[in-house]
């Protein structure tokens, strides 16, 4: 729903988007309605206009005009509003009536618009809009508006209603996403529809350059089958740039804490249909921001009782990577075929433990990943309107942890050698290798323009081994060298019925199958362990429904429901050899997720307004809980626990002339509704004190507001100035249960950000200066783990396409 307009360099994105629309409209619809509107677009001097957009206002289906200014749109019989837009020209709307099997041909002349560029620029974001208009409770964000910023994918997600990010620190730090209170393995993250779990640590949401992303989709509660994962509470899909144009996108930014980020992307598509693309990126930061904490006296090992400010001294992070793609399009055997190699490496110094006051000075981790991939698409596979797509990825990830410093550091950066200590945390030189294969196949068939059948299969196979036994010998036992493997196979089927543009109904079912192999201690004696390899199969299913209709002009109502599933993990089923006892009879975690969304959009001469309200309800049960206690001997898993979430989200976007206001507000009431702490408490009717209490350590009220002022043709024609002020608000929440009398909270925080951007030659050259958290508020998402204070950055970007 959200269309953030922090940044818009229209000319740049325009054509890419149009191309996408062209591709997507074909792909998504995959159908050929019986009528056609054809046309040719001229300027008032009679020159044909390539890359203008032509779309049907009612459906947002559109194409761009070709090199000769021609376009062709397939439509249903009836009257349609044809819209033509191109930057620098006044948008044109025209009513067109076509009869059955009729083909209309139009000659269209656009008038130049020297006064101002179209502000709302609906078409520039129409793929995003199209997704937002689907029956799902989805927020799609056009990532291109952030391409001139130093912000990351995670920070963009953090601005979405119902979504919160928890970060441990600065660049490269651990990042965790929550959607409506679901977090960790309850939500799944995808990149171009492929689960990101196998990517290794460098290609995760906190590290991917924002310029690599075309758009970001967040599905709340109900997830379409095309994203194959056991997502209990929602899914995120990051869609990367897939331009078939020739382009160069190069940027460099420098900011506080010695942060350097570079990104270069070049792509070339020949007339013969050969595509070559290369992305290269680099991030570096010392993360040497100041934190307020207690100081350890290295002589006495005692902490100071007072807190003071210290500069981080061991938190350098850098990563580098490239992604090279080559392929062809529009061949007899394929609509698009690409081969890709992605290489990443990272280096990460670890500054502190999960309590801020514990400082480290020698711990670090390194990681490398190589991810080859193949993409294949074929339209009309042997049968008209039968489309196939396949993505296969195989990732090799090597992680190396180092902790060998004998001694202790404190926050002043002082070190004291201590031969009695073998490490700062846990002595290791360990090296872990993991291999993940991900294979996504989608088959779609469209019938009579009203019925769509989609079949998706997503298979991931994960295996891990410690290859270097010498390096690992410090802390390992024989179980470390036993194979661990996990194969997850998720098959989804959906049927979509779309009798008119006003109504759309989808039903779907998902089948989950897991095969897992891992070590289990088979010896009961006190003096030995005997790990054996065990294997288990597991299957379960889920289903859902999504509908949308437009009761009146400007209004949209959506409802969606899914019974979601999270399959138990390997540790939950088998245990982890040391501290956990597995439970092979665990049931999957389940949730009933219901969404009701209302949308209202209107626009006038200089003004545009849209508002979206969402109500959500989640009933989550069969929670897999870890119990500990003497009785179990060790950690033990069982299905116990229910959580009910009801929430409301409101989003208001308002545009008036050069000014735009984007705001949203989220309130989510996440309650523990399991009356009893354990099954035995149920037998004795011992009601839990935490019954009906708010789930701890989860933000429940937050808001985001952005105010943007744009000046077109500032100082010079084709140059634009953009000023954005924004703030985020997150209300105080408890670290633990209020009902227990917990008194540690994560305080209310309101960081303010400001940025000024200037783009020259319609976005070819761009410079952006940003001040983040300019009131220097103390920010933290997790207890005691402080994030950076005030910071400044500047980003230079060159973007050219043909």
């Amino acid at each position: 729903m959200t269309i953030y307009k922090k940044y818009r360099i229209p000319n740049i994105h325009f054509i890419i988007t149009l191309t996408l629309i062209f591709g997507c409209a074909q792909l998504i619809s995959g159908q050929k309605p019986p009528c056609t509107i054809r046309g040719i677009i001229y300027d008032n001097e009679g020159n044909t206009l390539p890359n203008a957009s032509a779309y049907i206002k009612e459906t947002f289906r559109g194409v761009s005009s070709d090199a000769k200014g021609k376009f062709s749109l397939s439509v249903n019989e009836g009257t349609h509003t044809l819209c033509i837009q191109m930057l620098g020209f006044r948008p044109l709307e025209q009513s067109v009536t076509v009869g059955n099997n009729e083909e209309k041909f139009l000659q269209i002349k656009l008038k130049p618009d020297n006064v101002k560029l179209d502000h709302v620029n609906v078409i520039g974001q129409s793929v995003v809009k199209q997704i937002n208009k689907t029956a799902y409770n989805v927020v799609a964000i056009d990532a291109k508006q952030f391409h001139n910023n130093t912000t990351g994918v995670a920070q963009v997600l953090d601005k979405i209603a119902g979504v919160k990010i928890k970060e441990d620190g600065g660049v490269g730090s651990n990042t965790n996403v929550s959607i409506n209170g679901f977090t960790g393995n309850h939500i799944k993250i995808f990149m171009d529809g492929v689960p990101m779990t196998g990517n290794g640590s460098t290609m995760q949401i906190n590290k991917i350059p924002i310029n690599m992303a075309e758009r970001i989709e967040v599905y709340k509660g109900v997830v379409p089958i095309e994203l194959g994962g056991d997502a209990l509470g929602g899914a995120i899909n990051i869609v990367t740039r897939k331009s078939d144009m020739s382009y160069v996108d190069a940027s460099y930014s420098y900011g506080s804490f010695n942060t350097h980020k570079s990104y270069v992307s070049i792509g070339k598509t020949t007339k013969e249909g050969f595509i070559g693309q290369l992305d290269v990126f680099q991030n570096y930061s010392d993360n040497n921001y100041k934190v307020k904490t207690q100081l350890l006296n290295l002589e006495t090992n005692r902490y100071s009782s007072e807190e003071s400010w210290f500069r981080r001294f061991h938190d350098q992070y850098h990563n580098e990577g490239f992604m090279a793609r080559a392929g062809v399009k529009d061949k007899s055997w394929t609509s698009r075929f690409m081969v890709e190699v992605n290489y990443n490496q990272e280096y990460n110094q670890i500054q502190n433990a999960n309590l801020m006051k514990i400082a480290y000075g020698g711990r670090e981790s390194k990681s490398k990943s190589i991810i080859p991939a193949v993409y294949y698409k074929k339209k009309d596979l042997g049968l008209e309107n039968l489309d196939l797509s396949f993505t296969g990825k195989y990732s090799f990830v090597q992680t190396n942890n180092v902790d060998t410093v004998r001694g202790q550091y404190n926050w002043a950066g002082d070190f004291r050698y201590n031969s009695n200590l073998d490490s700062e945390y846990q002595r290791t030189l360990g090296e872990f290798n993991s291999k993940t294969g991900s294979y996504v196949t989608t088959l779609k068939y469209t019938l009579l323009n009203q019925h769509a059948f989609v079949l998706n299969n997503t298979t991931t196979s994960f295996s891990r081994e410690n290859t270097d036994s010498e390096a690992n010998s410090e802390n390992s036992n024989e179980s470390d060298f036993i194979k661990r493997r996990n194969i997850k196979n998720i098959t989804g089927f959906s049927y979509e019925y779309k009798p008119s543009d006003k109504l759309n109904v989808s039903v779907f079912g998902k089948y989950y199958y897991v095969n897992t192999i891992g070590p289990m201690d088979a010896d009961n004696s006190t003096s030995r362990t005997n790990f054996v390899e065990v294997e288990k199969d597991y299957s379960t299913s889920g289903y859902g429904l999504a509908t949308t209709f437009h009761p009146f002009n400007k209004w949209q109502i959506k409802t969606s429901y899914e019974k979601t599933v999270r399959v138990p993990s390997q540790t939950e089923l088998f245990g982890d050899e040391i501290l956990e006892t597995g439970n092979a009879s665990l049931k999957p975690e389940n949730s009933h997720n219901i969404n009701l969304n209302f949308g209202y959009e209107t626009s006038g001469e200089n003004i545009s307004f849209n508002a979206y309200a969402g109500l959500l309800y989640r009933y989550t049960y069969n929670y897999i809980r870890r119990l500990i206690g003497e009785k179990y001997g060790e950690g033990y898993y069982l299905n116990h626990g229910k959580v009910r979430t009801s929430g409301a989200e409101l989003e208001i976007n308002f545009f008036y002339k050069n000014l735009s206001l984007n705001s949203n507000f989220t309130y989510q009431d996440i309650r523990n509704i399991e009356k009893y702490d354990t099954p035995s408490d149920r037998a004795t009717n011992n009601i839990s004190i935490r019954y009906k209490d708010r789930m701890p350590n989860m933000p429940y009220m937050f808001s985001n507001v952005d105010l943007t002022y744009s000046l077109k043709n500032f100082l010079h024609e084709g140059n634009h100035l953009l000023l954005t002020y924004g703030f985020q608000f997150k209300y105080e929440f408890y670290k633990s249960w209020p009902s227990e009398g917990g008194d540690i909270t994560i305080p209310t925080q309101t960081p303010h950000n400001f940025q000024i951007g200037y783009s020259i030659k319609n976005g070819r050259y761009n410079i952006t200066c940003e001040a983040k958290n300019f009131t220097n508020e103390l920010l933290l998402d997790n207890y005691s783990l402080q994030k950076p204070g005030r910071s400044y950055s500047v980003k230079l970007r060159y973007y050219l396409h043909k």
Partner: protein, 426 residues
């Protein structure tokens, strides 16, 4: 856009803010009392203060404050002014806290310190709270890790942390001792238990095992080749080994639970030290039993031997706690066959003077007990926190003279009571 819609939108927004601002914070004033109690909630630990051990009802939300981290072990000795809480994470350096009562007799954190190494054993000696862990790699004078003849890293070091609680500084000093061939059998040792002899020496039991290969228990000990022997070392503050007590009548004196090596020794009112063995090793042929080191003696008392196992239906025990007058509370494994993580919730009482044993009367059966906390001894009675399946945790009063138990004070909403301690007013 007409006016009415604007108003509607505004109202909806206000409604949502209104909904959001109804918050729930049940503030309950903490009660004032004389016992410090550590309780666990679902994911946090709290410090409470209660007055009544025997017949009261408290709620966890009457706590005094929430602790920053969950505490694994509370240490408190006969000096009742300070309690020390230690975090045990697998290998993390932990932040320990020291708690004292303030002027208003309310507990508060008076200091925090860092423990660099993990610990598998703890106790008190002189001015110090001590933690220790074996299986460490010792370092030579040149600063390099020592190696065995085959070139592999040595693993016979024991690291001790000495936390000074007497001068209030809480200063922590780390010392390491090498144990290779300490008992003359060529093996390494891990230590278990600390008994202050009061003469500048302390006793600690040794668990000897083969060097190099670690099987489990957090890499502190390896294969035990001599499971029918017991060793106890007498050491001073500088970790000089003064003498080693040895015997073959019982197995080593340590209670094993995962990586833990629980204390199996205690001094009685006559300053005689009783040394127990629960015969943890399945290869041991010695029954569970106890020996005695008489006050000032340099050997085990050859005339004292107590075969406990023949009185306990062959159940082995994991931990012991001294009450008084020769009485010990013991906890036994639930099953006859045991592993390092086997549950142990059977409670019994032994008297080492008259060599008697009794299971406890009026006490929950082992399968009813979910967990228990560290006990408190007062007036010859023992107060044991017990959490029963399906009930809130309660403090059981155990009278050793009758071997009977009474259910006392409960704490609603707590998942566990970890420790009780009569913290002195300052």
């Amino acid at each position: 856009m007409n006016k009415k819609r604007w108003i509607e939108t505004g109202l909806l927004f206000l409604l949502m803010i209104g909904m959001a601002s109804c918050d729930d914070n049940n503030e309950v004033a903490p009660s004032v009392g004389s016992y410090f109690v550590s309780v666990s909630g679902e994911s946090s630990d709290y410090v409470m203060q209660i007055e009544n051990l025997e017949d009261a009802n408290y709620s966890i939300n009457q706590n005094v404050f929430e602790l920053e981290s969950q505490i694994q072990t509370w240490l408190y000795n006969d000096n009742p002014s300070t309690v020390i809480g230690l975090i045990y994470n697998q290998a993390n350096p932990g932040v320990g806290v020291a708690i004292q009562n303030n002027n208003e007799n309310i507990p508060e954190v008076v200091g925090e310190f860092q423990i660099g190494s993990r610990f598998t054993n703890y106790g008190f000696f002189g001015d110090y709270a001590i933690t220790s862990v074996g299986g460490q790699a010792p370092v030579g004078e040149d600063g390099n890790t020592l190696t065995y003849e085959d070139g592999s890293t040595r693993d016979d070091g024991i690291s001790f942390n000495f936390i000074n609680i007497a001068d209030g500084s809480l200063s922590l000093t780390t010392k390491t001792m090498q144990t290779l061939n300490i008992t003359g059998n060529g093996e390494k040792a891990t230590n278990s238990g600390i008994v202050d002899l009061g003469n500048g020496e302390f006793l600690t039991a040794l668990v000897c095992s083969q060097t190099g290969e670690v099987i489990e228990g957090g890499s502190s000990s390896g294969i035990v080749n001599y499971p029918d022997s017991v060793w106890v070392a007498a050491m001073d503050e500088d970790l000089n080994v003064k003498r080693i007590y040895r015997d073959d009548r019982i197995s080593y004196a340590s209670g094993r639970y995962r990586s833990r090596y629980y204390n199996m020794m205690s001094k009685d009112e006559n300053d005689d030290v009783y040394v127990f063995s629960g015969s943890y090793e399945s290869t041991s042929t010695r029954p569970c039993g106890a020996l005695r080191i008489n006050d000032g003696a340099t050997d085990f008392d050859p005339d004292y031997y107590f075969n406990i196992e023949e009185l306990t239906d062959n159940y082995h025990f994991r931990r012991i706690w001294y009450i008084s007058r020769g009485y010990f509370l013991m906890v036994f494994y639930n099953d006859l066959e045991i592993t390092s993580s086997s549950p142990a919730t059977r409670f019994g009482l032994v008297n080492l003077y008259d060599k008697t044993f009794s299971w406890i009367n009026n006490f929950p059966t082992y399968d009813e007990i979910a967990s228990y906390g560290e006990p408190l001894v007062q007036n010859n009675n023992l107060y044991l926190p017990v959490k029963l399946e399906g009930y809130d945790p309660a403090i059981y009063k155990i009278d050793p003279s009758t071997a009977s138990a009474t259910r006392g004070t409960e704490i609603d909403g707590a998942t566990n009571i970890k420790a009780i301690y009569p913290l002195r007013a300052n």
